[in-house]
Amino acid sequence: MNQDRLLKVDARSPFEVYFQDSALTVSGSNKVGKFDILPGHADFFSIINPDSELVIGTDQEDIRITASNGIICVKDDQVQLFLNI
């Protein structure tokens, strides 16, 4: 896998780290609709829909997280997910 084209994802809640590794994609939904973050995505700051599912796509198994609410911040292929806030 080409390490240059990966997202660096950190998904956590105040008391739990769900995922902290490289990933291919991050998908979820917000007020506007569904979104997919891939490497090279524009800087993005959004509120995640309450109780919606987030999917972190990796080269192995997809990680699925359902959070009561949250924020996603994407900057320079770094994705931070603040969940259950």
């Binding site: 956590r12 105040p14 959004s46 924020i71 603040f82 806030i85």
Partner: protein
């Protein structure tokens, strides 16, 4: 002097208390380790969130306080006490500190924890709302409390602070100010995020609102955790003292039991000797 069987019965009871306090002591130690870990994780989360918020270059003090313009003009004291007893005198100290600052004319009290509510009622002080202390291993839902205090102009939180296993203190903070205090470590570490180069969905203002509420909830959650930590430490100390006292009592009872046994044996021996003497006397009388 008590009978040995009665002392033995009491000893068994005190030994049970000693065992129980030992169990409570271990539970408190485990809980302290668990909560300390949660506090550290929550602080790390807060710092990361704050770093993002700070990069938006908004002033939380002016934003949050401007929201409070439609407030009822009163002050609210949020008192975080324990849910149950057996935590030493820490709740009593907490309530005494609250009442020193309390002015019925300008202030309302919101209390968390049945022990604190009980102590206020005993002193004839009325509180406007009572909540159970939120407990969860993964998520503390403080939104009902945040909602209850939102109409107030100022929210002062009184809680028990963990300093060390042996020392716990009573502390009070202004909730909004505490957000800024907590964020000191992470300020200025991120690049500026502006609407020029970033997509905000739905909007920068809505995101900032959510982040501010989240940070306020986090600050409040941390105070609850900190309070729980202090209560566990206080419970540990109370149990350690109770265990020591129970051990001393077992020692005292053991001495008393031995004395009572010896005295009972002496008495029985005396009775035998008297009987023998009497028999001997009767025998010599008829011989």
């Amino acid at each position: 002097m008590r009978r040995p069987s009665a002392i033995l019965e009491d000893t068994e009871q005190v030994e049970t208390v000693e065992d129980l306090t030992g169990v409570f002591e271990s539970l408190a130690t485990t809980q302290i380790a668990k909560v300390k870990n949660k506090v550290d994780m929550s602080k790390e989360f807060f710092n990361l969130l704050w770093a993002k918020y700070a990069s938006l270059r908004l002033d939380p003090q002016s934003r949050i306080t401007s929201r409070a313009r439609s407030s009822n003009g009163r002050i609210v004291f949020v008192v975080i006490s324990a849910e149950a007893g057996l935590s030493g005198d820490i709740d009593q100290r907490l309530i005494e500190t609250v009442l020193r600052d309390y002015d019925q004319k300008s202030t309302d009290i919101v209390v968390l924890g049945s022990h604190g509510a009980q102590q206020l009622m005993q002193r004839g002080v009325r509180y406007v709302k009572y909540f159970r202390v939120p407990t969860s291993d993964s998520y503390i839902d403080v939104s009902p409390v945040i909602e209850a205090i939102s109409p107030y102009a100022q929210a002062k939180v009184y809680y028990e602070e963990y300093i060390s296993i042996g020392v716990q203190d009573i502390k009070s903070i202004d909730l909004i100010q505490s957000i800024q205090t907590m964020s000191k470590d992470s300020e200025g570490s991120e690049d500026i995020i502006s609407e020029k180069d970033t997509i905000f969905e739905p909007s920068l203002n809505e995101i900032a609102d959510i982040m501010e509420t989240a940070m306020m909830s986090l600050a409040f959650s941390q105070v609850i955790l900190e309070s729980g930590l202090a209560q566990d430490a206080s419970r540990f100390n109370a149990m350690a003292v109770a265990k020591k006292r129970a051990s001393e009592l077992v020692g005292l009872y053991s001495m008393e039991y031995n004395r009572a046994r010896r005295s009972q044996n002496d008495r029985q021996m005396r009775e035998v000797m008297v009987a023998l003497k009497r028999k001997k006397h009767e025998r010599s009388k008829y011989a």
